[in-house]
């Protein structure tokens, strides 16, 4: 597999690195970042937390702003941060921030012009972990987390692939995309008008019908401007209660949608994942 190192920074005794590679799934060159804790070496494989970012983000936002490397170094967990959409001059885009580049929504698009590149679901579930596990000193113990659009992605992907992930968490996820403006706009464009196909990518729908479970932690700020219209954690909560799904949903007074919120609680998420990754 062809992979090119773009940058390398020592961080908390481990290494933050950015790579470029050719994605067959997405039919374009993609960048991702990995944090390798000091425990990772040729002799010791460490588990991996996949982090899915929100609208407009790249691999950089989480790595620069979340303050996660400190706890990852302590706990011996690698973190992989992919980009949020296919990229490049040939990739379809839209002027809006919530469609096209930076807004892949972690689905496999079926509609033109998006279906040429926008297959982020397959990329995150299959191609990227295969590349990571073939390239770096990591085990096949995987956890997944994300923020906002990426919180939707993390929950949805874990719910559809419970055998692949030890645990899942999310900050401020788009919990019920079929019922909010961001989700309806993106799913209309990427998946077409058949709402039944949208439901395959909706965490609240999937949780209600889940056969297997993945331990789940969700944090939501009460001062988040997107809470009522876009995020709808109450839908996820209702699904968890109906299914008796192992979801811990925490609401935090005063916190907003920003990385200051994520930074404040990322250590707790990493410890939550470490608990399941070490079993």
């Amino acid at each position: 597999m062809n992979i090119e190192n773009l940058s390398c920074n020592k961080s908390f005794g481990g290494w933050h690195k950015q790579y470029s590679h050719r994605s067959e799934t997405l039919n374009c060159d993609m960048r991702f970042a990995i944090y390798l804790p000091p425990q990772a070496s040729g002799n010791q494989k460490v588990p991996v937390l996949y982090w899915l970012s929100g609208l407009t983000c790249t691999d950089e936002n989480f790595m620069q702003k979340a303050g996660a490397q400190r706890a990852a170094a302590e706990l011996g967990i690698a973190i992989v941060a992919p980009d949020t959409s296919p990229r490049g001059d040939n990739v379809a885009d839209d002027e809006a921030y919530d469609l096209g580049k930076g807004a892949g929504f972690y689905v496999n698009a079926t509609e033109a012009p998006w279906n040429r590149h926008y297959r982020m679901y397959d990329y995150i579930v299959n191609e990227l972990p295969e590349l990571i596990e073939a390239t770096f000193p990591v085990s096949q113990q995987r956890a997944i987390s994300g923020h906002s659009m990426g919180g939707h992605g993390a929950l949805m992907i874990a719910l559809r692939n419970p055998e692949r992930y030890c645990s899942v968490s999310a900050f401020s996820p788009i919990s019920n995309p079929v019922n909010c403006p961001w989700g309806q706009k993106a799913f209309s464009a990427y998946l077409g008008t058949d709402v039944q196909r949208w439901r395959e990518y909706d965490a609240s729908v999937l949780m209600r019908d889940a056969e297997q479970t993945v331990p789940a932690l969700v944090d939501q700020g009460e001062a988040d401007n997107f809470l009522a219209e876009q995020l709808k954690p109450e839908a996820l909560d209702a699904a968890a209660k109906a299914r008796e799904y192992p979801l811990e949903l925490r609401r935090h007074e005063g916190y907003d949608h920003s990385y200051y919120f994520i930074a404040s609680f990322i250590e707790e998420h990493l410890k939550f994942h470490a608990d399941y990754l070490s079993r």
Copy 2:
């Protein structure tokens, strides 16, 4: 004093806030950020760490990337991050990244066109602390720290004002600006050709002649691209040894000039300052 709140994010139980105010010293509107830990309240004043950023930065880089709020919240220290130069359409600038806006070098410029606005020394030493101490629940216990150009600023300001600061620290400071290209370019423009005036703003020169001392901690990465040509910690080290100045200079293998380095050691700097701020 006229001050306008621009943003507000809850962070580790405290608050990150950005403000705009009219600076009389700089003759323009300025933005700064403050982190108020949960301990700060009408009844309890907390000490303040002033953070001076490097070339091209604003108040945002440190607050978003250093991961400092966690330790500041634990230790009960406020952090103030000013901008790195005067700002605005009327302010003189240069096309280069290392002169003009984003590159104030914390001096009082004497040369045209810079002397209309570039008085960052007076702003950091006098006007900003006066505003902070009149506006927020903070004490007059002050520490100062910074990175690169801001490391120069922190050391130089503490050395010239030992009665105003309990402690000083720096990451990758420009330690001997009169002897490096960044310093020579900026000091020529801002201060003119008389090298004797440059020396008033050079930490290595000031430390060698210091009458009073301020406990000092400096961290330097060994893989820093600017180390040999621009930073010259050996000059500071020699000055400290000649003067028996209380400087701890630490060199760290593998670390570069980035915020990943700062994040890795910022907790140790905050604990260093907390030790002196609480005396």
